[in-house]
Symmetry: C2
Subunit: 671 residues, 2 copies
């Protein structure tokens, strides 16, 4: 590249873009780690975006009607941090950049949404940002339909690299965006031909332009180092009635000795090469120094949206109060006042009628009362609507002709669904839930982990949660998936036993502000075990005594979900033989672990043998069987220690010994 | 559809295809569950494939040079079972079909490779079969390059549905196939416009034809109910020098009242509608009855390949003996004779030189000696070759001009890599291993679970296995991933402490015949802890005493991987205070659990407090801290109970208290 030609053609642009490149080089050198090449390659595109297109106000990075900027290629975090510093975001003084990748800094190795207001989403695991962006854009459409264009009217811009586009989840994302004509979604592809292992051609020969077109996107090609070209492409993209991909031809690590090589992807810390690159840029300022005129120009960009924001605030304030309150309540993730009473009334009715129901059907019944009072929910399923029981009568279907619809047919895209739900939650104003089979937690895993890491209260509705699904066989029968979800920090895993516990689990899940939930639900019918109505939400304690021992307590049976009623039957057998048996229902291990020791010991006192019962693997159970006890007792576990099989459900429970008789025998074997 | 016209145009074809439809209806009705519509829609395509193109011999379904037939749309399992019965596969008498989806039957709800020789792979989780097929086709290329066209020369045929193509992994698969010009891979897309939730248009508007073209595939459109059209397409596909996708326009549940509806996807059991469908087909035979002439015609198809197979056997027998032996050894998953001595010699050398190395580097050193003696290995990485240390000097890179290459640049496609490795292992003759960051286990999860379920010894090389990776931060720092892998049945999870244990772990992993392995490796350097050479493979016992207590044993420290040397340091501190401390290295919990009780108690006797140490979550540890003990003792765990952070590695270990001092303090707190 002839840097001199670039500089002289657009000197003002050049100095602004070069500030990003210089800060990147300096921060990576200071940290002695990081990724220099991507910010250096995409600095021109980002500069034009921020200067001419992105609607934002650096003074209020959380302004609800801002355009969203998603850095899907999260390893290029210095691009984002440089921009936030340059435009004057108060959370990004130069000290933060000097502390790049150090303990406690906002400038983490990859952008973390929970560390700074100006970071929209956590990226780094490739493909996640572009998949989040579909949820961002859908949320914008839904809220625009609801509040009108004067209140909600913004774009979602994404920078994605070759790595993002190679990940399968990107296909799920772009086909969703194409199907729903998310015209306010604009992806800028950093087309630099380089991945870590070498040139892209080493592992890929995809025609990305034709690929996006096949997904019904508008595609524009642009020279990623020509500001006029980039500007024209962005203008055209904003006018399109389809989602737009701008293929930005760029040079990774522009101007550095490592330009156009895979080495350029990583940390460029060689002092001589850095000096040479800065000289080639015509950049004479010292490390972390930005010439005053350049900084002033960037700060003016940071204030570009201030008037627009104030005008928006006036429009917002002129909305009817109830509308404003609902808008803010949803944004703040506050529960509607009616929720608690609604759930209580539902529980009362259900404990009286005591239906035998699959808990997935209990979940649907709960949603039928919950969705009307909690209008920020948006439901969906990955092509299993009838099986996941996620659709209720009032939602309406989100579509090109019904942007106010609150139900999304995600198609066979578990991963794309989960990542888009993350995007919706991050956008704000929406509380998403989505369903698939529990076993396909596997497909959604990368995004489910990010829900937890990002501290967003997405709800995963995972039905068909054990061998109880029967004939579909071991590919569809989860055995390790409760353990997987429980192993993940900051995740609530609910396995309710009946309709009452299901309603209580939902109440907790939809009132979370910073924790995602997995609700594990049965395919098969189970009886109501909570036949006595209680106003208190018992699931909130994580575990509680469902039926106490008569006579001397010799046995404690601890069970979850569809195995609770088996434990109750086993208790009857044992009591009939004079063996005092307590049944503890444990719908949420994480909440039980959070209770004080006194409560935990009241529920699980010493002096009795314990049997854990769950149609899944034992991993995660030993803490309740052996842990926290004043004196040693014996314990056993009734569950699965292998994959399941294809056969009717009742036969499978027999085959694997998960029966009332098996439980009673396990308990007696310990006495 | 005018069934009459179809029937009269090709009466012989029609009766053969209708036999599939009738058997499907009968089996689903008998099971009262299953998926009827797909086999009914694709019966014509499958009939033409088996009659005119597929190279197979029903008498020997494992003939190594057979064409592979992959039913990616695994819910349509009755298509496969019907075909296997009709062609005369001895494992599929009519009784098996009558037992569809029943306990112990080969005819599981979804096809399970381990239940029948004629089932190439386990499908059901959508997208997996088409992604496996890439590995099948690569394995064929590699073995053809090695053994010549006379010994290895076959096609891989795949039937995939809309669901398969919506899953992201399908994009990873088809772009890999396109990049590598896998011309002997032929995908037949069941283009029926229907998914479970309704018409495909509800959730997708992708132009699949342009999408495959953008991935450099040859695409042919065919009428999926016109045998001549299908035949011509398959002929053209076989001649193409690109992978080919045949878009087969079909009607789901052809001829049934539910034709062309999402209801048709499921179990069509209504007796009257079944009778009407059969009448429309002109099918008068009773349930599970096949007219003799139709069965004879199918059995002739089943014998079509017999001569070809015999000719192949003659060619095979005329190969040099050593070549035959190598071929069969690899196919049977037997280890080469030299392996054991090679690993021993390497261990001796390493225990003497006692290097401080990242275990990922130890892994590379091991592979440098292992790959030359074990020529069936094929390595690779998902665009992290230099970080995963998976490439050794002798492998050569698999490419269009080097089909004998044994290293694959998988690109940023963890899921596609894992699924393709499954395909390679299932094909036979190849022992695949592949690397990514431990944290991105998440992306590969659906295929990793299937390695375990399918009982195939794929090796996952997972580096950067803790907060020890440092600055890249929590998106890249696994904390729950060891627990996730350990929760999965039939999976060996190794976390070696140094070069010696790494070599031992590899030796075990590459001698498995029916169990996949996860080898968890550090980014950061760790000292050699096994400085005394032992011929025995100590990792084989799962855990062992690395250093025993001096004086009265008061403390047992149990650690894995990079925390073992911290435990050794803590032991020194404790011993210096007169506290007798044993260190147990536990590189593989699964293997330790398989040891007899006597050995386990010898390693973990009662009477001492225990501290478990691992830079991951506690889940899975309590069994070793509390379980199996003669008398109650106290225990603690030093590890992670939250996500990590972005900072230098040493600071992170300090911050989270995973230090020798922290371990010693935890132990002392229990005394």
């Amino acid at each position: 590249m002839d840097l001199n030609a670039l500089r002289t053609a657009n000197p003002d642009h050049w100095s602004k873009a070069t500030a990003i490149r210089a800060l990147t080089l300096d921060a990576v050198a200071a940290a002695n780690s990081g990724h220099s090449g991507m910010p250096m390659g995409m600095a021109d595109v980002a500069t034009v975006l921020f200067e001419k297109h992105l609607k934002f106000d650096a003074a209020d990075p959380r302004w609800p009607d801002r355009d969203r900027f998603i850095l899907s290629a999260g390893h290029g975090s210095m691009l984002l941090y440089s921009l936030l510093h340059l435009v004057g975001d108060a959370q990004f003084p130069i000290e933060e950049l000097k502390n790049f990748r150090q303990m406690g800094a906002r400038t983490a190795g990859h952008p973390e949404n929970f560390l700074a207001d100006g970071v929209e989403t956590t990226t780094g695991p490739l493909g996640q940002g572009i998949a989040n962006s579909v949820g961002f854009a859908m949320a914008e459409e839904i809220l625009r339909a609801r509040y009108g264009k004067k209140i909600v009217d913004h774009y979602t811009y994404v920078i994605a690299g070759d790595g993002c586009l190679m990940e399968g989840v990107s296909q799920e994302a772009i086909t969703l965006a194409g199907r729903h004509k998310l015209s306010k979604l604009i992806v800028m592809w950093d087309n630099n031909n380089i991945t870590i292992d070498g040139p892209v051609s080493l592992s890929d020969s995809t025609d990305q332009i034709e690929r996006f077109r096949s997904a019904q996107w508008h595609v524009i090609e642009a020279d990623g180092h020509n500001p006029a070209d980039i500007d024209a492409a962005l203008t055209e993209a904003r006018a399109s009635d389809l989602p737009t991909m701008i293929a930005c031809k760029t040079h990774i690590a522009l101007g550095h000795a490592a330009q156009d090589t895979s080495k350029g992807h990583g940390a460029l810390t060689d002092a001589e090469q850095m000096a040479a690159a800065k000289a080639a840029y015509g950049w004479t300022a010292g490390p972390f120094e930005i010439p005053a005129d350049v900084k002033a120009a960037w700060e003016a960009i940071g204030k570009r949206g201030a008037d627009e924001r104030r005008a928006w605030e006036e429009r917002f304030d002129s909305m009817p109060r109830s509308k404003r309150e609902t808008f803010n309540r949803a944004l703040n993730l506050d529960a509607p006042k009616k929720l608690s009473a609604t759930i209580k009334a539902f529980k009362k009715q259900m404990s009286e009628s005591a239906p035998k129901l699959a808990t997935r059907a209990s979940s649907e019944k709960t949603l039928e009362v919950l969705n009307p009072v909690m209008t920020e929910t948006v439901g969906g399923s990955a092509d299993l609507t009838g099986s996941n029981n996620t659709k209720t009568g009032d939602l309406g279907v989100f579509d090109t002709d019904n942007r106010a619809g609150r139900y999304i047919y995600w198609g066979v895209r578990e991963h794309g669904m989960a990542a888009a739900m993350n995007g919706m939650a991050l956008h704000g104003g929406i509380r998403p839930y989505g369903g698939t089979f529990m076993c396909f937690t596997d497909y959604a895993r990368p995004a489910m982990r990010l829900s937890a890491l990002m501290k967003i209260p997405v709800v995963y509705v995972m039905t068909h949660d054990s061998i109880g699904l029967g004939e579909d066989g071991p590919t569809h029968q989860p055995v390790e998936h409760l353990a997987i979800s429980r192993a993940t920090p900051n995740t609530l895993v609910f396995r309710p036993a009946d309709t009452i516990e299901t309603a209580e689990a939902w109440e907790i899940a939809v009132t979370q502000k910073s924790t995602p939930s997995v609700i594990s639900l049965t395919r098969q019918g189970v009886p109501t075990v909570r036949t006595e109505h209680k106003n208190n939400n018992m699931v909130e304690r994580g575990a509680y005594v469902l039926a106490d021992a008569e006579g001397k307590r010799q046995v404690i049976l601890i069970a979850t979900g569809s195995e609770v009623h088996l434990a109750m039957q086993a208790r009857e057998m044992l009591q009939a033989e004079g063996i005092g048996t307590r049944v503890v229902s444990m719908p949420c291990m994480e909440l039980f672990a959070q209770q004080d020791e006194k409560y935990r010991k009241r529920v699980l006192p010493g002096g009795a043998v314990r049997v854990g019962i769950e149609a899944g693997v034992r991993q995660g159970w030993d803490q309740w069987l052996f842990g926290e006890r004043g004196k040693y007792g014996k314990a056993a576990f009734v569950g699965m220690d292998r994959f399941g099989a294809s056969a009717p459900a009742e036969e499978l429970f027999e085959k694997f010994g998960i029966t009332a008789k098996g439980i009673a025998a396990a308990a007696k074997g310990l006495l």
